[in-house]
């Protein structure tokens, strides 16, 4: 691996920067994502930092079934994120559309019908432990690929 790649991988592993995007969610997953930041789960001890712009983010965390209007913005954000980038589909909605699959305002089939997904975290809503587990698995897969 080139040095720059090693550096990028190291910084991703040590401190993944996350951009949270709500693509039409009921807020159930969103409050559990925010909950992961609070003392009981404290996701920041893994170096996970919430950022405000796609250009600084390593990981795009998407909650909600993707409404058609959000789909276009989601694609733009995905394209603006620098490589290497990862996408986490949060909750049943992200994985498959959840209860909203079949509603006219929503893209059928969930998040991977709009952007490529690296990690799927099921649940309705996800539990904070599942989010942490998903991030850890993602980091482990990056480490494995880097070897």
């Amino acid at each position: 691996m080139k040095t720059i790649d090693k550096l990028i991988t190291w910084s991703l592993l040590k401190s993944p920067w996350i951009l949270h995007f709500n693509s039409g969610a009921c807020n159930g997953c969103d409050i559990e994502i925010v909950d992961a930041l609070t003392p009981k789960y404290d996701i920041e001890r893994f170096g996970i930092v919430l950022k405000a712009t796609p250009r600084h983010a390593d990981v795009l965390v998407v909650s909600g079934p993707v409404t058609r209007q959000q789909a276009k913005r989601l694609k733009t954000i995905y394209e603006q994120m620098p490589d290497p980038k990862f996408v986490m589909a949060i909750g049943a909605c992200g994985c498959s559309g959840g209860v909203f699959d079949g509603c006219y305002g929503v893209v059928p089939g969930g998040l991977d019908q709009v952007i490529p997904v690296s990690v799927y975290i099921p649940g309705c809503p996800v539990r904070p432990e599942a989010i942490i587990d998903g991030v850890v698995k993602m980091i482990q897969s990056v480490e494995a690929a880097a070897k």
Binding site: N22, P54, I77
Partner: protein, 397 residues
């Protein structure tokens, strides 16, 4: 004059978006605000028409993740009214218990968000840590922390054991203790008062005219609460106060919510101590005879109203949901006008909106002829800085 909207949606400032609120600035004050809506539209009412009554319940639960029990209960009450089903008292009591636990979690969540918007991050961490107690109660009783799906058509899905009652009781007692601290902070801490007093003014006449509901209306002295006005579930058997305040501002909305927590704790104890014996559900036929029903419920944010029309099949003919935030959004434009840009996030947060946390505002300054886009984080920080300059600083707390 151009208008400015606070959009629901993605982060990136350069993206053009349909936005929710439009603000016009004069210096640092807002001279005009309008509300535009319609971002999270998924098409649930249409989908409900091709799902069975039970499937529709699970769908409607997800109108909102914070007050999901409100929606399923209002909906199921409609279904049961049309089915002419007599719901057992024990089931109604358990529904009420979940309803009040939901109010507690929602108000604590709100308190944390309000604290966060002010820059009072310690309050955010404390309240959300304490809120875990309620989530544990809900998980204990229903199997899930959020979207408890306690209801089924005809009653509730799960019963409550003596051990569970004791566990819930213990946790609520802990929360009562913590809430005394929050009341103290909310009402006596000068930095909180400085950020909330006289901010987001909504006089009673305007609150009435604009159809405000819930704590937003009650903070303007409007004694409106479906639990008292049209008691549903077992509220007519419970002893609790209707909390109002008369300062018409964000401070009032804070006071109403913390005092409502106290009333909710009272009710939870009453329910746990007087849970009637009996079954937890009755059988209701899959096909519901034709009819129409309207039911209302006092969700944490205010009046939730549902209309249901049945047609003799196992699927609804028409489902209509009007969640409380839609009613309160009409008042926000009024609250923002004449106020400071720095207060925008807090004023909006004070109606406890069921919106994503990723909102942004675009701000038009006619004098400078510039349109600026502010991320929600930026607006929040701007507010905190604005007040720091005036000596209101939460960093010591």
């Amino acid at each position: 004059m151009s208008k400015i909207t606070i959009p629901l949606g993605p982060q990136h400032p350069a993206l053009k978006e349909p936005e929710n609120f439009m603000l016009v600035l004069e210096g640092e004050q807002i001279s005009g605000a309008t509300v535009n809506l319609g971002y999270n539209h998924r098409g649930m009412e249409k989908a409900a028409e091709s799902r069975t009554y039970l499937q529709t319940m699970y769908l409607l639960e997800r109108v909102c993740g914070i007050c999901s029990h409100s929606h399923t209960t209002t909906y199921i009450t409609n279904v049961e009214e049309l089915a002419k089903a007599e719901i057992p008292q024990r089931a109604l009591a358990i529904r009420t218990l979940i309803a009040e636990l939901e109010r507690v979690h929602s108000h604590l969540l709100w308190l944390g968000v309000a604290g966060y918007e002010m820059g009072f991050e310690t309050l955010f961490m404390y309240t959300w840590r304490d809120r875990e107690q309620v989530l544990d109660c809900l998980e204990l009783l229903s199997g899930n922390r959020v979207h408890y799906s306690m209801n089924t058509i005809g009653g509730v899905r799960r019963d409550i054991s003596i051990e569970q009652k004791a566990e819930v009781s213990r946790r609520i007692k802990f929360l009562e203790e913590r809430t005394r601290y929050y009341i103290k902070i909310g009402t006596e801490e000068p930095t909180v008062a400085a950020r909330t007093a006289n901010v987001g003014m909504l006089p009673p006449a305007v609150a009435l005219e604009r159809g405000a509901v819930g704590p937003t209306a009650r903070a303007s002295g409007i004694a409106r609460d479906v639990r008292k006005d049209e008691p549903y579930l077992i509220y007519d058997q419970l002893d609790f106060k209707l909390i109002t305040h008369n300062t018409n501002d964000v401070f009032g909305r804070l006071v109403v919510r913390v005092l409502e927590l106290v009333e909710s704790y009272k009710m939870i104890h009453q329910i746990l101590n007087n849970l009637p014996e009996g079954p937890i559900a009755v059988k209701v036929p899959m096909k519901i005879a034709p009819g129409e029903a309207v039911n209302r419920y006092e969700a944490p944010r205010g009046e939730d109203i549902h209309y249901l029309k049945s047609n003799g099949t196992d699927k609804p003919e028409r489902v209509k949901v009007r969640a409380p935030t839609l009613a309160n959004l009409q008042s926000v434009a009024y609250m923002l006008e004449g106020g400071w840009l720095a207060d925008v996030p807090l004023v909006i947060a004070a109606i406890d909106p069921c919106m994503s946390c990723t909102d942004r505002a675009s701000v038009w300054d006619p004098k400078k002829g510039k349109m600026a886009l502010y991320g929600w984080e930026e607006m929040r920080k701007l507010g905190i800085e604005h007040y720091k300059k005036r000596g209101v600083n939460f960093s010591g707390l």
